[in-house]
Symmetry: C2
Subunit: 110 residues, 2 copies
């Protein structure tokens, strides 16, 4: 249960909301996404992520501060993946950089 | 294409990140979710939403300000739905209130 959600610290912290529409779901996309997930997990200031996909994909990554987000955006292998994503995989995407002000959770005891 | 993502204004604006694990997917859940979606669309300050579900559900609702979020949280029918959700539908959920600082988007021209 504990690993159901990203184990984020007490606010404030930061997040990147990445909403996307894939053009072509493929093994190549999954493979690149897996690589990026591995890579992002090693970044300083990365706190965790949550993701779901049906008609839209939503990935939320959590970060210690805005500087860590900026460094990840400019990380070389990630830059190349972003370029490849624009050419091959994404019909469209939207990125929102946010500050988490408050959070709370519920776990059913049934 | 335009309606793929929530049509949010220039930042700053606010959002509620709702990450959930459903205990029992059911027609009753879908029906209540549809009602809440109808109701939230009528709230002052509501800007739109994006949602996806596979093993986790992620719903992001966008809002003009924190006061609009607070009013929606306390709206009577929504309060009742939250109570029912805790008893009948959710194994767990996490809510994060965020301020959107910056955003950008990409549309493929291929």
């Amino acid at each position: 249960m504990e690993k159901l959600f990203a184990q984020t610290p007490k606010p404030p912290y930061y997040a990147v909301l990445f909403t996307s529409k894939i053009m072509n779901a493929s093994g190549a996309y999954d493979s690149l996404a897996d690589k990026m997930l591995q890579l992002v997990s090693e970044q300083d200031g990365f706190l965790g992520y949550e993701a779901a996909r049906d008609h839209l994909g939503i990935t939320i990554s959590y970060w210690k501060d805005l500087d860590a987000i900026k460094k990840w955006k400019n990380q070389i292998a990630h830059q190349k993946a972003q370029e490849r994503g624009k050419k091959e995989f994404y019909e469209a995407y939207k990125v929102r950089i946010v500050k988490v002000l408050n959070d709370y959770e519920f776990f059913n005891s049934l």
